[in-house]
């Protein structure tokens, strides 16, 4: 492994030399960020492709909680577990635009099931006659199957922030565990000819850094087949090496700024000017240079990009600004320069980088408990007093349930404020709500207790304080997954990272062997997702060779 890093470090030096040469000829690269989460507006990527001449378009679908949600759907149907929004916009004209304009798409839409997602993409491409569309899928982020084997080699899987918590493997039902991959496999996929790159969990900004690794020529230089996940880890001292790290850091910041979609263009923005319309809000485009600086701008449409909107997004979901850790580089933004150029363009520069840590972050989740929510409307006069009385009555009626935890919130009376601040404001300001929405969030390891709790909500309309209303159907307990951040040594993950080009449609497999329709494709996905690398590779090869059933059968069994 060390050898790869040595190789990489040499290459990084070559790259920085090369980049300085190309600076004048190719001043910058245009990368769009057309989605910030699974569920974001699907018109955005189509709109962005229509109105701009991009080099790459990136879509980040994975918030921390998304992998948990996808794991749930994957466990109920092995064809799911990826961001289905991707299919929607590709079919709405997105796929034709990608082809006509020659824009490469890089997305983590694969979620916990990137192979099925990539098969869908190839299906859609073939439906418009783009039969030679090169769809690459990056796998290897799923570490569920190697948790126990790497634990034997000394991995602890302690909680990343709170060492007093039980380690991950002490929990029974671990649903998903995915390492954050870096930009390396993405850059390499494009260098190998991918038009579309589908990944599972990669660090958000790495989607963009991956495009830059290709645009700068670095990824093409990597002769060795096994590509490190990200930047080198051993210490450098040369000035040039520092320059390379600064480049990765600059690109990561550009990536961080556009990976949440319209949040940098006036969405979720405190200082939105009154005359700026965000009903047709634009999504961002980064014009990224080979000196590590970038210009953040917007697509055609509403919204605004200014210094303030860029700073709000810059600080979104980060902790120590001098130590922002990605798999590719540690980013230091404590000296950052943000300069408004006018016309919705903001220049970002002066970012520095350090060698990334040896360990990769893992986001994992385990089945923790069950959860239920209920709400009721309590009207005035004196709505807060009545709502509190309603809560008291309810709690008395369910007092025999010893294994539930109830959180009551009174909306309209400051429920969105942290408790200490709420009390302070209550003392000094005269808030006079007209009505209160009271909401109960209840968790328990015992599903039945939650059913009993839920059955006590509707009766409050007839047996509670006057005017209580707003009851809808009785809510059903749903599984609650606890998020558990931890880390793993790089070598365990590097060994299983693979780039596979998808060439066979699921429909072809099913058409040829209809009697296998239900079981085998499902099992193939399972094998692809969960098996050790050797089996997975075997299955992938077989699929690539347009099927040889006995071999698949052998591999599956």
């Amino acid at each position: 492994m060390r050898k790869h890093f040595d190789l990489l470090s040499k290459r990084m030096v070559e790259m920085s030399k090369k980049i300085r040469k190309v600076t004048s000829a190719t001043p910058s690269v245009l990368i769009g960020g057309a989605g910030g989460f699974w569920g974001d507006r699907t018109y955005a990527p189509v709109d962005m492709l229509t109105h701009n001449d991009l080099d790459y378009i990136t879509m980040d679908y994975l918030a921390e909680v998304t992998m948990s949600i996808m794991s749930k759907s994957y466990s109920s149907n092995p064809k799911l577990g990826w961001a289905t929004d991707l299919e929607r916009w590709l079919k709405k004209g997105g796929i034709s635009l990608l082809r006509e304009k020659g824009v490469r798409l890089v997305t983590n839409a694969g979620g916990v099931n990137p192979v099925s997602c990539a098969q869908m993409v190839l299906d859609v491409a073939c439906s418009i006659g783009w039969t030679n569309c090169q769809v690459a899928v990056v796998t290897g982020d799923n570490v569920l199957s190697i948790l126990h084997s790497s634990a034997k080699e000394g991995e602890q899987f302690q909680h990343m922030f709170d060492k007093s918590k039980e380690p991950l493997l002490h929990h029974d039902e671990i649903i998903a565990a995915n390492a954050y991959l870096g930009a390396g496999p993405i850059g390499r996929s494009i260098a190998k000819g991918a038009d579309i790159v589908i990944t599972g969990r990669v660090a958000d900004a790495s989607l963009i850094v991956g495009c830059m690794l290709h645009a700068s020529g670095w990824a093409q230089n990597a002769e060795n087949e096994s590509l490190p996940i990200c930047g080198p880890i051993h210490s450098w001292s040369e000035k040039e090496e520092q320059e390379s790290l600064d480049l990765l850091a600059g690109w990561s910041v550009a990536g961080h700024l556009i990976e949440c979609g319209a949040q940098v263009c006036g969405g979720n923005f405190t200082n939105l000017p009154a005359n700026v319309d965000i009903s047709d809000i634009s999504y961002p485009i980064a014009k990224i240079s080979f000196d590590g600086s970038s210009i953040i701008m917007k697509s055609k449409g509403g919204g605004i990009v200014n210094r303030a909107s860029v700073i709000e997004q810059l600080l979104y979901e980060i902790d120590d600004p001098s130590n922002y850790i990605t798999p590719d580089v540690i980013v230091d933004i404590s000296m950052i320069s943000i300069e408004e150029l006018g016309d919705n363009q903001v220049k970002v520069s002066s970012v520095s980088g350090r060698i990334p840590p040896e360990r990769l972050k893992i986001s994992s989740c385990y089945h923790d408990a069950y959860f239920i929510t209920s709400q009721l409307l309590v009207p005035g006069p004196e709505p807060l007093a009545k709502a509190q009385q309603t809560d008291k009555i309810l709690r008395k009626r369910v007092a025999h349930l010893k294994d539930i935890i109830i959180e009551t919130e009174f909306f309209g009376a400051g429920a969105s404020l942290p408790l200490g601040l709420r009390k302070l404001l209550d003392k000094t300001t005269n808030s006079n709500p007209r009505e209160i929405l009271v909401r109960w969030g209840v968790s328990s390891t015992n599903r039945q207790s939650l059913n009993v709790f839920a059955s006590e909500i509707a009766p409050l309309v007839l047996t509670g304080p006057a005017g209580v209303s707003g009851y809808s159907a009785r809510s059903k307990p749903r599984k609650q997954l606890a998020f558990f951040p931890t880390s793993i040594g790089r070598k365990h993950v590097e060994e299983q990272v693979e780039i596979t080009f998808i060439h066979t449609l699921r429909s072809e497999i099913e058409e040829r062997y209809p009697w296998l329709k239900r079981n085998v494709t499902t099992r193939i996905d399972n094998v692809m997702m969960n098996s050790d690398s050797r089996t997975k590779l075997a299955v992938a090869r077989v699929i690539r060779r347009r099927l040889h059933m006995p071999r698949i059968w052998k591999a599956v069994n």
């Binding site: 979901e317 935890i405 109830i406 969105s416 200490g420």
Partner: protein, 106 residues
């Protein structure tokens, strides 16, 4: 010396987000003068008092001079994280706006 109440919204704009069980709240001062007031007034003690009953912390505050910003980190505040919180604002997205309603004495 007599002090006066200054609301955070007069000094700064804000955005909050989550990471596991922590929330970060960025307070971005409107100008240099506001930033100086903010740096004086926003302490881990005052954050602790505002979040009393929700979390014991720890609390961290990072100052980024070149962009006149404070990044406030509040640990152990989401009842385990976005997937296990029993609150409607499970990811603390509203907390940035919540803080803009607070004041400090200067």
């Amino acid at each position: 010396m007599k002090t006066k109440r200054v609301y955070l919204r007069e000094l700064a704009h804000a955005r909050s987000g989550d990471k596991g069980d922590l929330v970060n709240i960025a307070l971005i001062a409107h100008d240099e003068e506001a930033f100086e007031i903010l740096k004086q007034g926003i302490t881990t003690e005052i954050l602790k008092s505002w979040f009393e009953g929700w979390t014991e912390g720890p609390f961290e505050i990072y100052s980024i001079e070149s962009i006149h910003s404070l990044n406030c980190i509040i640990h152990n505040v989401l009842q385990g994280g976005g997937t296990t919180s029993r609150r409607l604002d499970a990811q603390g997205k509203a907390l940035g706006q919540a803080l803009l309603q607070a004041w400090i004495e200067v």
